[in-house]
Amino acid sequence: MSEKQNNSNPFDPFEMWRGMRDSALDVWAKAMVQVVNTDAYAMATGKSVELYLTAIAPFREVYEKMVTQALQQSNMPTRSDVVSLAERLTNIERRLDDLDAKLDESELRAGRAKAKGEGR
């Protein structure tokens, strides 16, 4: 389990205790790996997630509505406005990247033509 990286003294009582501790942890670790790899554990995890989502759902909805209303009343951009803006910016970035690709291609072609001309 835990590995002491330097030389250990077999007569040291702490070393003996550490050895016993590590053996016990190894057994526990192997048992827990078996436990988490069962359908029962998977079902319990699934239920916990479901419970959590059910518990937070009404609060999230109310909170989101309140924040959106507050932002709209204060003439501030809401999350959907920011998302829409971000998407537009990304689209512009894509167009710029397309242009960059064309420029790189032109440079490459010009370089090849020049090299060909020098070779003649």
């Binding site: 389990m1 835990s2 670790a29 790996v33 790899n37 998302v83 971000a86 990304t90």
Partner: protein, 357 residues
Amino acid sequence: MMATQSPVTPEQFKKLEEQLGTLMRVTTTRYPIDQTPKEVIWTLNKAKLWRYVPALPAEKRHRVPLIFSFALMNRPSILDLRPGNSFVEYMLAHGYDLYLLDWGVPGYEDRHFNMDEYVGDLMPRAVRKMKSVAGSEEFSMLGWCIGAILATAYAALYPDSGLRNLLLLTAPLDFTNREANGFTRWVNEKFFDVDRVVETFGLIPPEMIQYGAKALKPVENYIGNYLRLWDNLDNPEVVESWHAMNTWVNDNIPMTGGFFKQLIQELFRENKLMKGTLKVRGERVDVGRIRANLLNVIAMADHITPPCESESIMNRVSSEDKELFRLQGGHIGIMTGSSARKITWPHIENWLRQRSD
């Protein structure tokens, strides 16, 4: 009057005080990981393409550049953990022109991103830029974990892109055996409502993914890891290594709901990549179209990607030059543990060197 002797000497008190100071330092501060100099050569949305500053002059470097594709929910800094123990540093010293495709931290606006965006849009664009900067039509790609899924899909979709060498590390690709892995069992449709999780969060919280990874080996991750530190507090090498790894492990990023759903529904549950029914931007991902030289590195003690999930790709690709390299070790340990510098890195470098000029 009898003098009472303290059971603990002042030296022992001093040592204990120092050890507690070390413990506080490494558990509450960040280790300066990711130190190798690099520069951004391309960006799109949150993604960045980094070029590491070469360690050797151009005439001594290999002709074919290498690009890293790492997982989406962790930072790629694991490849450059600390000076003297960095895969990036090692490959630079061996004359590679290195590039890193950093997916960045997705925002709420990217919550729908799945392989259509990562493999169908960002990867081809980043590769184009890398080829332009490197001045090479050919390149090598190394994918690790989920980054290996993306690299495999890329290699299958774009076999004529100039991809000469494909290196896969602990690649989760084949989910025929859904009981081989804790993850695939937990997200079984009987127990886990992926639609509801994605609808609620949009972006999957990093804490949720981190819990999933740690819960596969709960005793090792929540107890054994700290005992190992406690037992070695007077060993600076172990302490520094632990500090660097702890910094990386706890620095996770959210995963887009779109990819999370695709991973669980289409890969874990329906095994579409191996069945050849996965589609990216409407095009079928056929791993049989992969022709690049292939090095597939598998960790035999991998609890996150069991070997059976990585092995079968070897019989599916069309590559004539392919090698399956099995290693003793875990999912991360094979690239960062004590054997990484002695076994894993030299093997990868040796394989790639013979195919990079």
